[in-house]
């Protein structure tokens, strides 16, 4: 649909865009990214014919752009420039109706039913139909922007060039406009080239990205290839961290601000065993990875609860019940991670391990009444029953994502070893159990102090975790056995 070869040019004699090439298939969306002054708008103006080229070719539908007559081009390609102020006001309907200009010809051209249908649809799609008789100057920036998007849509061109279409729009309308464009791309084979300021938004919606730096193409390809931490850090001179979108297979970028991170340290005194729960209250949020009931996964939390519930606890919506519980104890719901156990928390074992500069805390509540051998779990028929090993490992240090996963592995391996050495059997199969069916694990770190790139079993921190979890588990298991009268 659009082919650009070696495009060079800019304002007057000054070349701003240099040797830019890309091509875009019909029914695809291309996002143009780049820092201020990298030539994004200049490139768009050159493609749309406002600025001259000093070199290069632009092919639209395999024909040079210059071979199109003005109105013909406007039927093929609609352009949304950035929003400017106007001296006089048209109404919204009049503004959108102007999008039909290239479809009308002759001195006495009539407004056709087709024109009416196109403008009405465009206004509906952008949600401006309700303002149709209002004057543009009385509308907000976002409403004006949507009116101009409607104008461009009313042109019914196959190719759409947009200069920051989501500028001035709030979150809802950003999503609405981008969803609508994506829908048009998918259903009507619309082809879109759009400048974006927000690279995360671009990554969500675009099939391809073009990253410009000083008027040249720095990277071009699928979002996953273009949006790399190194590339963005170099082009924008800003540290970023790449993370996965929770639902879509597209990268997202988080800004890493250049600010001093305050020291944060967990101490044994911050652990409290209350009536019904173990409560760790950190002074600052800890980076956490857990399989907790409330707020699982990765996150940042200040409060950590391990709560005892009755062995007969049955609840249709354990999540809501837990939320209520947290609220009733005047803890901030969004800053709290919470898990449940049938074990009375007076049996909770909390220990501190320190080796040179490395320091961790381990908390265990172990109820192994319904222990399971993971290798033979398929032999268990009945539904889950209470009987839980809850394990916390809190680390004073900085952990990478990789070390978080390794710390988790080390913790679980140490737990399994403790089950083995503690001779806990799966009653169903008669084999050594590896845990229970409802175990939970939590790894948390202060993210200040010592740096841990890895946390495997023979790294400094891994050794501490392995030993700490194993020893604490053994103590907790002995405690459990004593309570059950299995040992003296």
């Amino acid at each position: 649909m659009l082919e650009i070869h070696g495009l060079t040019g800019g304002y007057d004699k000054k070349e701003i865009v240099r040797d830019v090439s890309f091509s875009l298939q019909k029914g695809r969306m291309l996002g143009i990214l780049g820092p201020n002054g990298s030539g994004k708008s200049t490139l768009l103006k050159m493609i749309s014919g406002i600025l001259p080229l000093t070199a290069g070719d632009i092919l639209i539908d395999n024909k040079p752009r210059t071979s199109y007559k003005q109105k013909e081009l406007a039927r093929k390609m609609a352009v949304l420039p950035q929003l400017h102020a106007h001296a006089f006001s048209h109404t919204v309907a009049e503004t959108v109706a102007l999008g039909r200009y290239p479809h009308q010809s002759g001195l006495f051209s009539q407004w056709s039913a087709e024109d009416e249908a196109a403008t009405t649809e465009a206004m509906t799609q952008t949600g401006v139909a309700k303002y149709r008789d209002e004057e543009l100057e009385y509308l907000s920036g976002g409403e004006q922007q949507r009116t101009f998007i409607a104008q461009a849509l009313a042109q019914q061109a196959e190719l759409l060039l947009l200069d920051e279409p989501t500028n001035h729009l709030d979150l809802e309308h950003q999503r609405q406009i981008m969803d609508m464009l994506k829908h048009e791309v998918a259903t009507r084979q619309l082809t879109v080239v759009s400048i974006f300021h927000d690279m995360n938004l671009a990554a969500l919606y675009c099939d391809e990205l073009l990253l410009l730096e000083n008027g040249r193409v720095r990277a071009y390809g699928a979002p996953a290839e273009v949006l790399t931490e190194d590339e963005i850090a170099q082009v924008y001179h800003t540290a970023v961290a790449r993370f996965a979108h929770p639902q879509l297979a597209t990268p997202q970028m988080a800004l890493l601000p250049n600010i001093e991170i305050a020291q944060n340290r967990v101490t044994l005194e911050q652990f409290r065993v209350e009536n019904e729960f173990v409560h760790l209250k950190a002074t600052k949020p800890l980076r956490t990875l857990s399989a907790a009931l409330h707020n699982p996964g990765f996150g940042w939390f200040r409060h950590f609860l391990n709560r005892t519930v009755d062995a007969q606890y049955m609840c249709d919506d354990a999540h809501a019940e837990m939320k209520n519980y947290i609220k009733n104890h005047h803890l901030p719901i969004e800053q709290t991670v919470a898990m449940m156990t049938a074990v009375d928390v007076k049996h909770a074992v909390i220990r501190r391990y320190k080796e040179e500069d490395h320091e961790i805390f381990v908390m265990v509540t172990a109820g192994v009444g319904n222990a399971v051998d993971a290798a033979r779990g398929h032999l268990h028929a009945e539904p889950q029953r209470v009987g839980t090993i809850n394990l916390w490992v809190i680390i004073n240090g900085v952990l990478s994502d990789e070390s978080f996963m390794q710390a988790m592995m080390t913790t679980i391996e140490a737990k399994v070893k403790a089950m083995q050495d503690g001779e806990i059997y799966d009653t169903q199969t008669g084999t050594i159990a590896t845990g229970t069916s409802t175990d939970s694990v939590l790894i948390a770190s202060t993210q200040s102090g010592q740096n841990y790139e890895y946390a495997g079993t023979i790294t400094d921190i891994g050794k501490l975790i392995g030993r700490g979890v194993y020893e604490t588990m053994i103590i907790a298991l002995d405690d459990y056995k004593r309570a059950k009268g299995w040992i003296q």
């Binding site: 039927r75 420039p81 001296a87 006089f88 048209h90 200009y101």
Partner: protein
Amino acid sequence: MKKHVVGYTVSFALLVVAAWFAISIGSVKVPLSVLWNPSSADAASANIIWKIRVPRVILAGLVGAALAMAGAAFQGLLKNPLADPYTLGVSSGASVGAVMTIFFGISSSALGLYTLPIFSMIGAMVAMVLVLGFSRLVDRSMKMETLILTGIIISAFLSSVISLMIALTGEELRQILNWLMGSVSMRGWPYIKMIWPFLLVGALMLWMNRKELNALLFGEERAHYLGVNVKRSKWMILVGGSILTGCAVAVSGTIGFVGLVVPHMTRLLFGADHRHLLPLSIINGATLLIVCDLVARTIIAPSELPIGVITSFIGAPVFAYIFFRQRRKGR
């Protein structure tokens, strides 16, 4: 759509009423019945009506229509609410032509009565070529700012030429000043015959660009994207508006405010869509100037005031109000 039907109906009714009164009222009262039934008129009344009043009213209407339409187009094209037909300096050229004719006492037997308006129109065309040519020389894309600035430069220069001639003149001073303040009296049919073809051409050039003017209101860039041949439209609007202005000034002098106020009032009442703004401005411009001329010649009868005094007297407060409203709105 309904708003425009009302607009045309009201505007046209006002024009008819204004013309009616302007024809019947004057130093010699002509009974309305004469107008109903011209055959019953005595010879004197018929003469007054057909030789003096009717051409005067028609000329006032044509001049008002031309100025208002040119004003509407220039405001739209220049995207400037303060623009009027005189912004581009074409009127100053026309004035220089006319004042030179009076100052040097130019009279041509071949041109006769037409000497002054023809020199004036030549002045207008020279000024137009100067402004457009210089703008193009400065900036090939002829940005609006360039046009406005060039207009101001040329106007200022030509005004100084006029001032010089006024300063050096003796007995013709009153004649020059009277011409500058504008009047449509004692022109008669020949003037109308002289200018109407030009007015028609100018008006057509603007009317053909009514949709383009709508698009240009959003700036040349957006208009370009909408498929408007911006360069061609701009030239047609500039030349068309200049022809209208030049003709109007040549026959009636620089009558102020019509071209500024009428488009604004029309826009406020009936919207900014040029498809209706241009014709409505024509009708309302004609009405306003017919009324102003009526007031100018009756208010201190038997003497006459220059029509420019009345338009400015009415126009300035109206414009002040519009200006106030616009600023308040911007906040």
